[in-house]
Symmetry: C2
Amino acid sequence: MTQYKIPVLPGDGIGPEIIAEGRKVIDAAGERFGFDVEWIEYPQGADHYLETGELISEDTLKELSGYPAIYLGSIGDPRIAPGVLEKGILLTARFYFDEYVNLRPIKLLDGVWTPLKDKTSKDIDFVVVRENTEDFYVGVGGRAKTGASKDLLEVKRTLYSAKFGLDIETDSEEIGYQIGLISKEGTDRVIEYAFDLAENRKKHVSSVDKANVLSDIYGFWREEFNAISAKHPGVTTDFNFVDAVTMWFVKNPEWFDVVVTPNMFGDIITDLGAMIQGGLGLAPGGNINPKGTSMFEPIHGSAPKYKGQNKVNPIATIWAGAMLIEHLGEKEAADTIVNAIQKNILDGKVKTYDLGGKSTTSDVGDDITRIVRGE
Amino acid sequence: MTQYKIPVLPGDGIGPEIIAEGRKVIDAAGERFGFDVEWIEYPQGADHYLETGELISEDTLKELSGYPAIYLGSIGDPRIAPGVLEKGILLTARFYFDEYVNLRPIKLLDGVWTPLKDKTSKDIDFVVVRENTEDFYVGVGGRAKTGASKDLLEVKRTLYSAKFGLDIETDSEEIGYQIGLISKEGTDRVIEYAFDLAENRKKHVSSVDKANVLSDIYGFWREEFNAISAKHPGVTTDFNFVDAVTMWFVKNPEWFDVVVTPNMFGDIITDLGAMIQGGLGLAPGGNINPKGTSMFEPIHGSAPKYKGQNKVNPIATIWAGAMLIEHLGEKEAADTIVNAIQKNILDGKVKTYDLGGKSTTSDVGDDITRIVRGE
Ligand SMILES: CC(C)[C@H](C(=O)O)[C@@H](O)C(=O)O
Ligand SMILES: CC(C)[C@H](C(=O)O)[C@@H](O)C(=O)O
């Protein structure tokens, strides 16, 4: 019997409810496929922060870095300003563990309603590889008032005057600014991951950028993409401006196989991707460091208004659990879970409100568990 | 007879073909509603650049700034690196004329196919007010190698070491970076424009940001939004993270009335908006400086592969022409053009390939002209 230790952070809002179902399903898969999971629970989240003032400590991060994979519920709470928990826990973990790939399958299961006309499960089946440690997520920015940071106040004035000979008044102005940066190593490793993935799929990689406007940062991305592409002659490629890619996701999702994208654009287009695959209740994600600690989560938030109601769809979390155990090497068990999700949906009897049903979170978890057991 | 002088930049690719139809329709509207247009043609675009090395000169910009409104076709050519013409002409003009509002109606006309299930013209009818002179469009960025710009190479290292005590090797790294900035004045004026617009519509303004991650720049945006919102007690508001807003455009477009957004997010979500209103062939836009020179254009690009084929849909450009003459004060003529577009579509006989027809660009222009004439 293989033994796994998996740290679990249920987090905020509906997190504990959906994580409970995910654990139930993984435990059942373990019984059937001969592995046993010891779950190690961590309290980080809003309550813990309000009680102790701690988001996630370096000791905890160090401890967690001893494990190959973490199971995460959801982070975020209306009592706390937007960004504090998300940055202080979720993004901190992604950065600390250097989880440079955010892997998000965009797959419409059979029997799921998509908002798109004329599209079926055959048309919506691709993977987004989102860079996960750089770009505009590095958290470098600030505010500047006159006197406070003359240099930055000058940026806009310089820009206008250099380009147009205009003299723009900025003396009384306040400015907010943000810096994004990508490194050669950081860009190469995620693009290489995307090409490796495509080698085992339909051998096509689409790159997303906005090199026609943010030319410094994404011109660099494009050069690196071209260099790595040259090493994979069997893989076809295309470039998409991020504005255009939102159109093609809606109009021609069947064009895509593997989509590789800088961090922020990846954040945007994977929410759109989640919607075309039937909604956030069905969209899992993995934050992956292939040689370190990875972290699997539903891509939705903590849905505070549904907290404690046993109402939301646990499928995204259960699916993220399947990705987690596949990452640990339990491919057959993972496939069995995904097939069980598919069967639960095709049966159409036990489903939550977002899919037009009346079942509870735990009803759905129970049903998928039953199918995993082969009952 | 009112006389207007309107500078026109047909631009690249299909630009000249679609602009010809737009002019035809405006001329016909002028005959009917008692105004006359003198078109002043400008050659800026790819050919002009390849022949003369000039993108758009300051003399030309100064000259153009004497007019209230410019009619623009499309800019972009595959012979020239991405961004050169777009930044050198289109963005330069937007900045030079300080056209701080990019106004993009997202309106599904009756009889137009939308990729969304169960949505009709009643559900898709809102306006995006995109900030148009700041944010990540200011063009400030660069590359850094070891030695070249020690400061910027240090950013990533500092970030990691300050937050986590990690020592990341950056010595051999190359970095691409980009800076976005928004000013108080620049933010306030566009948000105020959005509230004024909402006062005359359904009195709801949705703000788009990513304040939970890009907290410095968009936290500032959110504060300014709140301050201006307080001056408009009759207008309801909501906040949307940009990732989420792409979902709601697809799932619940009927929720929106006026959407106000920073520049780059506006670029992304208005392409998605164009798609849900039936595609780029139907999506017009205005770059507006209420007290200066404005510029009206289809939001699509120059579609080089269709150049000279008399094939693409001129409706976006004709609709942009209607916005232009409305801006000049010809409201009745503008409404007549939009109604003529609607009638052409409902008739369903004269339509280009993108709408499932076989008519040419000029057929569609002729048909709309005929309807504008009241024939
Ligand atoms: C919660 C937020 C910080 C996060 C992100 O922006 O990455 C989320 O939207 C996601 O996509 O996982
Ligand atoms: C061509 C490009 C520079 C432009 C932009 O990014 O603003 C276009 O996409 C638009 O939306 O008008």
